[in-house]
Amino acid sequence: MKDVTQLTTGPLVRKTPLNLWHHTHNGRMVDFAGWDMPVQYSSIVDEHSAIRNAVGLFDISHMGRLQFRGDLSAEFLNGILTNDTSKFRVGDVRYSLVCGKDGGILDDVLVYRLPDRWELVVNASNREKLIDWFSNSAGFAAIEFTDATLHTGMIAVQGPRALELLGRVASLPLEEMQYYTTADVTLLDSPALVSRTGYTGEDGFEIIVSAHETERIWQKIMEEGSPLGVIAAGLGCRDTLRLEAAMPLYGHELNETIDPLTAGLGFAVKFNKPEYTGKAALEQIRSAGLRMARVGLLLGGRRIAREDSPVLVEGEPVGKVSSGTFSPTLQKVIAMAYIPHQFAAEGTKVEINIRGAMVSAEVTGLPFYKRKS
């Protein structure tokens, strides 16, 4: 066997404020987008199930946190984002894409509108690229920009008992906080930006606090959560959870050669708004009609179709898998893939070439998993 001993980190990786905690709690560390991050502490499947059934904490401090202040921030961001910032109310969190001139996706981001600023939470792998992109975009000189990533930490509290857990540590009206809203609050005596968001398909919250308070707050939530069955969860189950929920992951479902309409993210692309980067290209893509679609696949057997596995119809390659895994919830192998529209109807039979083995699969509706309520 190989690969099993390659899960070590290089010398120049960044560390989150929780790095020592991970290393002292059996975290199996990997280099993820230049950060030393835990892929798991125990088993990916056990951590996955804990989030689906109870609650767990993720260190997501590697995500980029970018702040925009000044009167022209909304206008500046509206010239860059595919979503329409003029429609956001204070306290809203919205998903958006950042596209290049050709409509290709530079990143997918969460946009927070706060009373005194806007914040973007961006992918770790794209943070530096985006900062370059923003600083070369029109209007950048007129806003006040801060990259808060390295002096803050970010914790995701996810699972059906997330509300109950945070209620134990904070006297905040959390149950009144709607999904995809945010607020500046005081959490355990520290200023914190809390949002009801997540990347798991479960209810949950994400918390941004200063770097030097991150470990204290993490520890306190872990202690309070122990009667509720809280666990620390790594990036391994973050991937299986988001895949069941059919949430795209940059570098897999999304990249600079894929546009958001093909990716099935049209809900976050607005055409009735002023000019923004990529708008003309996206209008053209829309009027020309989409050729490819992002679909879900349910596979027979237990071989996992990984990224780039060819998808075939009647022996002919028609597309490729973007992500695949074993779904602990469904106890089946699942995948997302890009294939031509004519094969994208639910129930269409396809085959996947997994390292030479032909495995039958069926197109299925997304998401694979949707929480009740």
Binding site: M1, D3, T5, V39, Q40, F326, R355
Partner: protein, 128 residues
């Protein structure tokens, strides 16, 4: 089976020897590192392998890995029960979770394999 009596490949396969037949399995260390094993592909009976050739695949949620032949020879027998009882890999790595039996064509290759204590040192250096 006491692992002290086995020989180990750097690629984490173990070998127990009975005459010219080598029984091959996957070490407890490798199983722990993989975690969440969901699939195992066995080699075909009668197929011949040389050391370092892939004779099977083991798939975990995280990644797929090859199972390499530690010695040259022909596959005599495979553990048909194992793919449907993958829990054996962690419950009984050195006994019930054997993968295949190989009729060795060159038993001297066993000298290239490590003792258990050398293998444990190898894992300490490589795995952390």
């Amino acid at each position: 089976m006491n692992p002290e009596q086995l020989r180990f490949a750097k690629t984490h396969e173990w070998v127990s020897v009975d005459g010219d037949v080598a029984t091959v399995g996957i070490s407890d260390f490798a199983v722990k590192l993989l975690t969440d094993i969901v699939f195992l592909a066995l080699p075909a009976i009668g197929k011949k392998f040389s050391p370092g050739q892939s004779m099977g695949e083991i798939e975990s949620v995280k990644a797929v890995s090859d199972v390499y032949a530690p010695v040259s020879g022909e596959i005599l027998e495979v553990n048909e029960q194992l793919p449907d009882n993958l829990g054996l890999l962690s419950d009984s790595p050195f006994e019930k979770a054997w993968v295949a039996k190989i009729r060795m064509s060159n038993p001297e290759q066993l000298n290239q394999l490590m003792s258990y204590s050398d293998y444990q040192k190898h894992c300490e250096n490589d795995g952390h």
